[in-house]
């Protein structure tokens, strides 16, 4: 079943078109990633899908519920972790989560019941009575995710959840997200400008200037929009140049960089006696973005 269907979605602010007629589908249980620079329209799209912003035009369905008509049903099915923390600094983790639970009509007992599993898996007990402002970046993110899960949504929107976190905290946050995805079978909708975070996604949509410029699994995108590279460590010589012939290549200090669109294996096997010191570098999502937009990703 499709979790989300988006058709020709647009959002304008006066003269500025933030989202320009984008279309895509997200399947239930999928890890879906939205990749793009700041200002590409990722957060605007996520905010429309979670009913915070209204759309200018287009059709959106969340588990069959129509955006604009069945907003309350959609709100019950979606949870969102915002780019910046939106919990109250002066309140404790407990107070923050109880008040947020009340927004869904839950009393203290119901919130406790719903949080029982989350408290354990997100290790919230040790920080339960601590003020939110006293928490580290990683702890805050854990509480933010717990808050987004308080009403047991079927889709979790993560709007650049690891921005500003140190590598260790990023790893911890990703471990929790992986757990939700694999164990709880939650549909994860991620926006990010970190290429590596999309590596495990089932489907990646690349946005640029409010438009979808590519869509597919990471391997499909890499195959389509990047090339693998063979780094051959050898002296520059006429023999080597003759071997490489018309293949696109460059020489840098002690090695050749050779770009491959097709399989490297055949070429390596055919020249196994000559090419002995080498490494193969697979095309990356950075290359995909660079080839699609003609520029490096800026954040």
């Amino acid at each position: 079943m499709d979790a989300i269907n988006v058709r020709e979605l647009s959002k304008s602010y006066k003269d500025v078109k933030a989202v320009k007629g984008i279309s895509f589908d997200v399947h239930e249980g999928e890890f879906f990633a939205f990749l793009g620079e700041n200002g590409a329209g990722k957060s605007t799209t996520i905010n429309i899908l979670s009913t915070i912003l209204s759309k200018t035009s287009g059709d959106v369905k969340v588990f069959g519920h129509e955006l604009g008509k069945d907003d309350n049903e959609i709100r019950a099915l979606t949870g969102i972790v915002f780019q910046n923390s939106v919990l109250d600094d002066k309140l404790s983790v407990r107070e923050n989560l109880y008040t947020r639970g009340s927004y869904y009509g839950f009393g203290k007992k119901e919130t406790d019941r719903r949080l029982s599993g989350i408290r354990e898996s997100f290790e919230l007990d040790e920080i339960w009575n601590r003020r939110y402002e006293k928490l580290s970046g990683g702890q805050r993110r854990r509480v933010d995710i717990a808050r987004a899960l308080i009403h047991s949504p079927k889709i979790l929107f993560l709007d650049e959840p690891t921005t500003g976190l140190d590598p260790k905290s990023r790893r911890i946050v990703w471990d929790h997200i992986d757990h939700l995805r694999k164990e709880k079978k939650l549909t994860i909708f991620l926006t990010t400008h970190y290429m590596e975070e999309t590596a495990e996604a089932d489907n990646v949509v690349i946005m640029d200037k409010g438009m979808v410029i590519a869509n597919g699994s990471p391997s499909e995108l890499k195959n389509r929009y990047s090339s693998s590279k063979l780094v051959w460590y050898t002296h520059r010589s006429q023999d080597a140049e003759a071997l490489l012939g018309n293949m696109p290549h460059t020489y840098e200090s002690d090695h050749y960089n050779i770009s491959f669109k097709d399989s490297i294996t055949e070429f390596l096997y055919a020249n196994r006696n000559v090419i002995t010191d080498y490494e193969v570098i697979k095309g990356s999502m950075d290359d995909v973005f660079l080839n699609l937009t003609g520029r490096e990703m800026s954040v």
Binding site: T51, F82, D88, L91, R100, G101, S102
Partner: protein, 305 residues
């Protein structure tokens, strides 16, 4: 209902958990208190003495304790009047902070109805104001009764609490109409500074409005807070004044009490005339009603862009 209660509770917690904010919300009241200790009390007593000096008989009949009770109530009224402006405003800065930090996005992503969001800000600010000024009034009355010279009856006290409730609601309604114009908490903070500085003068906490020109008096009377303060003055200071008046035994035909009422501004002044106290109540309620209508117009649709 649970959702609305939850939102309101959250707004109250956000305000009361920030101790600094609570203290700052009473900044003008604290200034009034400090100035009273430094010189205001002396100034008010001098104003009395200047009247008493004109008549030796008055000087012997009017007791110093009664004058002291009167000016002490003047302090309490000044503190309450200014708190009824600064507390609701400070509590309402949560609206600005929530917009600035996108906390409103978090609320908008839940099934909470949009009108509940707006109403919860209104109710929590009005409640905060009622709680803070209610505590201030209660403490003032207890201290005053412990000091002796407590000349209020149950009706006066009940009226004072009623004015505190109406004042809290009307100030909150008025401030709600323009809180959304502040895009940052820095801007609302700067406005709060100006409000704190000006409010004491506008309501006549430092200098009775009767000392100002007609134009200034008329301008100050445009603000509902001035009318609230005048109502509080009538509720809390009349008792001591009537006590002084009864000490005279009607010998002056009430001229002394009337001159004190005029000097300390017991009546609202609008359109070039002194009006009766009920007109203040009508004015405050009318402004609150208009503010509520404006609030509905301004906030409707604001939580979905």
């Amino acid at each position: 209902m649970k959702q609305f209660m939850g939102l309101t509770k959250r707004n109250l917690l956000v305000f009361f958990k920030d101790k600094q904010s609570v203290v700052f919300s009473l900044l003008t009241s604290i200034i009034v208190f400090v100035l009273y200790l430094l010189f205001l009390k002396g100034t008010f007593i001098d104003a009395f003495d200047s009247v008493l000096d004109t008549n030796e008989y008055l000087k012997t009949v009017i007791k110093e304790d009664d004058i002291e009770a009167f000016v002490n109530m003047m302090l309490l009224v000044g503190m309450l009047g200014s708190a009824l402006i600064t507390v609701p405003f400070n509590c309402l800065t949560t609206v600005v902070r929530d917009k600035e930090n996108k906390v409103d996005y978090d609320i908008s992503a839940t099934p909470v109805a949009r009108w509940q969001i707006v109403l919860s800000y209104f109710v929590s600010a009005a409640l905060s104001s009622c709680i803070m000024t209610g505590i201030l009034l209660t403490a003032g009355l207890i201290i005053s009764s412990l000091q002796g010279g407590f000349y209020l009856d149950a009706a006066d006290i009940a009226f004072a609490y009623l004015v505190v409730i109406i004042g809290s609601i009307s100030s909150t309604a008025l401030f709600m109409t323009f809180m959304l114009f502040f895009k940052t908490s820095q801007a609302s903070g700067a406005f709060f500074g100006m409000l704190s500085a000006a409010s004491g003068f506008v309501i006549g906490a430092y200098i009775p409005l009767s000392q100002f020109s007609e134009g200034v008096r008329s301008f100050c009377n445009l603000f509902p807070a001035t009318h609230i303060t005048i109502m509080l003055r009538n509720a809390l200071m009349n008792g001591a004044l009537e006590r002084m008046d009864s000490s005279l035994g009607g010998m002056d035909g009430g001229v002394f009490a009337e001159s004190i009422r005029e000097s300390f501004t017991f009546s609202p002044y609008m359109f070039g005339n002194d009006l009766v106290i009920s007109s203040s109540m009508i004015y405050v309620l009318a402004i609150a009603f208009i503010s509520c209508l404006m609030m509905i117009a301004i906030y409707s649709g604001n939580y979905k862009k």
